[in-house]
Amino acid sequence: MKFGIVVHGAPYSSESSHSALHFAQAVIDTGHEIHRVFFYHDGVYNGSGLMAPPQDEWDLGARWATLAREHGTDLVVCVASSLRRGMLDSTEADRYEKPAASLAPDFTVSGLGQLIDTAINADRLVTFGA
């Protein structure tokens, strides 16, 4: 079965990232597929390439990256939510003449069409609210 996962909460400020990561891993471990993880609202902060948590805490950024690199999981942050919150890839940073990009390389920026595509084409849409 193909799962769409939506994350609304910021890493650490909300537990939604922890829950979504546990769920995503369980989807893979039980032999199912992740259609996409779509980050919306404050969830886009999960795409930060600048998180440096204490060593005795979960490195949420690294865990999302592992999902992408080991399982090809599609991690998408919503462009409008990202721009508002300063989650910019290098293209957007140049476009808006910002001093730096902030998005981690395993995330892609895309529009709400990807959220709707997930809602339509995944077998199940699971949302982790803030």
Partner: protein, 117 residues
């Protein structure tokens, strides 16, 4: 055929959920049959007379008026939650169809996915 239900449950201005939820609704209408349900403080998103000029947030209640142009012919709300807030449909910027709890349960079950904000 996909049929998406968008549920708005948060008040405007205190968070961005309502505004970003509405953006998702507008995008959804381009790809699927969509319905909108306002529950709890989500009903406040369409309260009349919102004036955001001093505050500086966006008054997106007006965008709800455009939803019929996007194919959302009816905006549903919880009748109980409307009354609990001392409101009637006349207090809102758009026509709404208040539903009882049983009708809302049926509305939810009639869709292929639920997106909540």
């Amino acid at each position: 055929m996909a049929k998406l239900l968008f549920i708005q449950s948060k008040a405007p201005h205190g968070s961005l959920f309502g505004q970003e939820g509405l953006d998702a609704i507008l995008m959804g209408t381009a790809f699927a049959e969509c319905n909108v349900l306002l529950v709890e403080d989500g009903i406040y998103q369409v309260l009349k007379a919102q004036d955001t000029r001093e505050l500086g947030t966006k008054d997106y209640s007006v965008t709800y008026k455009a939803l019929p142009d996007y194919g959302v012919s009816t905006i549903y709300c919880s009748e109980r939650h409307l009354l609990a807030r001392g409101l009637t449909p006349d207090d809102l910027v758009v026509p709404v169809e208040p539903l009882g709890n049983d009708a809302i349960k049926q509305l939810m079950a009639d869709h292929t996915a639920i997106l909540g904000f």
